[in-house]
């Protein structure tokens, strides 16, 4: 057990329970490796705010032009987690998040998503003793799809339960996304005489953004792709709705708004693919796949660290679900049809 139970930790656990999260299990009182993979993952969710540390996380992601790398400093001090530096910094404390330009200018606060699906429903999870990450022994949670292909590996620190590394693999077993600590120190052992951390000052607040229902005109299937369930709906401002999906292991955010996409404003270098007769443009980024598409008068932006094929599967659901009006295309085809250019 961590050397102290912070007040924030208790509040977080209480919220988990009240949201029906009891199934996620209260961590065992003894710091033994727990063979139950789902319990390990659940413990990993809170470990970063219940253990102090300083470290560096390396993100590697695969793009058509090669593997990109970015290093991000991380620290956690009495429940205050800081990720990144300067204007890129994001801070977390309990369910509060500070993110945005000019150094954490916006305070976000939501009650957390609806109950997440059990990862074991879609994924075959198993655990095994893992290699050391930053010199610390790990237990690896291996997630296989129903064809037996390994699609993710999560390396959990045996001592603290911290998630030290998270690998996402494509269908052929190649890593497409990898977030790993490459340096970690001062674990539960902060420097003496350090001032207590303070939360950032926010210029803006995004609270009460959770929606019980989506506005009319927004397509929001409650199940999408392979095993993704809609577990959060948020107002993103200016007519944009965030639909938050989870399959128990991966999350996908689909941002939706009425309008026509300005394809020309998107950077060169995206991968152009057709999904269910609709054009999509996708990019591999540090945050995972970012995909844009546009149909039936709505613009969709999707962000996810799920494997790219899972994201495509989810887009298909949206394509099929919408009340697709082909009137404009029918008119053009009718008008252009008789003229053959040879």
């Amino acid at each position: 057990m961590s050397r102290r139970v912070s007040r924030i930790g208790v509040v977080q656990l209480a919220l988990f329970v009240s949201l029906g999260g009891a199934v996620l299990l209260f961590p065992a009182p003894h710091a033994e490796a727990n063979d139950n993979a789902a319990a390990l993952l659940a413990r990993a969710r809170t470990a970063a705010s219940t253990h102090d540390f300083v470290g560096v996380v390396r993100i590697r992601w695969h793009t058509p032009k090669g593997t990109q790398v970015a290093d991000v400093p991380v620290s956690s001090d009495q429940g205050l987690v800081e990720v990144g530096l300067g204007s890129e910094k994001v801070v977390g404390h309990g369910l509060d998040r500070w993110a945005g330009a000019d150094g954490a200018a916006t305070l976000w606060h939501d009650a957390g998503p609806d109950q997440l699906p059990k990862p074991g429903t879609k994924w075959d999870l198993s655990t095994t003793a893992g290699p050391a990450v930053v010199g610390r022994p790990t237990t690896v949670v291996v997630a296989r799809d129903h064809d037996g292909n390994v699609r993710a590996r999560l390396y959990v620190d045996q001592s603290t339960g911290l998630l030290l590394r998270r690998e996402v693999l494509d269908r052929h077993g190649h890593a497409v996304h990898d977030v790993s600590f490459v340096a970690l120190s001062a674990v539960d052992n902060p420097a003496p005489g350090q001032a207590p951390p303070t939360t950032p000052r926010a210029h803006r607040e995004r609270t009460h953004d959770q929606l019980a229902h989506v506005p009319s005109g927004i397509t929001a299937p409650s199940a999408a792709g392979d095993g993704f369930r809609l577990v959060g709906r948020y107002r993103q401002g200016a007519g944009v709705v965030q639909l938050f999906y989870s399959d128990g292991l991966f999350n996908v955010s689909v941002f939706e708004q009425r309008g026509e996409l300005d394809w020309e404003a998107l950077p060169v270098g995206g991968t152009d693919t057709t999904v269910s007769d609709h054009r999509t443009l996708s990019y591999e980024t540090a945050a995972g796949t970012v995909m844009f598409w546009n149909f039936d008068g709505a613009v969709y932006t999707c962000i996810s660290d799920a494997p790219p094929d899972a994201v495509t599967g989810l887009v298909t659901t949206f394509a099929d679900a919408s009340d697709h009006s082909d009137a404009i295309h029918d008119v053009i085809k009718f008008v252009l049809g008789p003229f053959s250019w040879g």
Partner: protein
């Protein structure tokens, strides 16, 4: 390493391929070995890297305002020799017709006044109304919401590193 004598046969243009990620792992290793031992190669690499970076930093150049709108709305009578079968010389509505020997080759993409009007009215929307997703703030929202249902560090780490999308 292969049995080749060090420094022979590896062409200099391997340096460009090296920067573009177009080499196999073996070839990359060879280039790196050559770079370690050759000041000349290091100097050439610097040149090529600089040129490549300068080009990739060039801004996207836009056509004059309204260029594509005019293309879509505009139609010209076709030259007799060029008209495809089936298209008559229709009474085509034009925005600003530009006639020159060069531009006479520009054949109407649409075959009739009705078609041109439909397309112009329905598809040619003012560019200002088009949606430009603000990827930076969407990335924040996704990371924040992910981090409450998942490990916070791996969810939040990427927020500052998603670059390249115009605001």
């Amino acid at each position: 390493m292969t049995g080749r004598p060090f420094g022979s046969e590896l062409p200099e243009d391997a340096l460009s391929a090296y920067l573009d990620g177009e080499l196999t792992a073996d070839a990359r290793a060879e280039v790196e070995a050559r770079l370690a031992g050759s000041a000349e190669w290091r100097s050439i690499l610097d040149e090529v890297r600089a040129a490549r970076a300068a080009l990739r930093a060039l801004p996207v150049v836009d056509p004059p305002a309204g260029f594509f709108e005019r293309l879509l709305a505009e139609a010209e009578p076709v030259d007799a020799g060029v008209a495809p079968a089936g298209v008559g010389v229709a009474d085509i509505e034009q925005a600003r017709a530009r006639r020159s020997p060069r531009r006479a080759r520009w054949v109407a993409a649409l075959g009739g006044a009705a078609a041109a009007a439909v397309v112009a009215a329905v598809l040619v929307a003012p560019r200002a109304d088009r949606v430009r997703p603000s990827v930076a703030s969407l990335t924040d929202a996704h990371a924040v919401r992910s981090s409450t249902g998942e490990d916070s560090v791996s969810s939040l780490a990427a927020v500052g590193k998603v670059t390249g999308f115009r605001k």
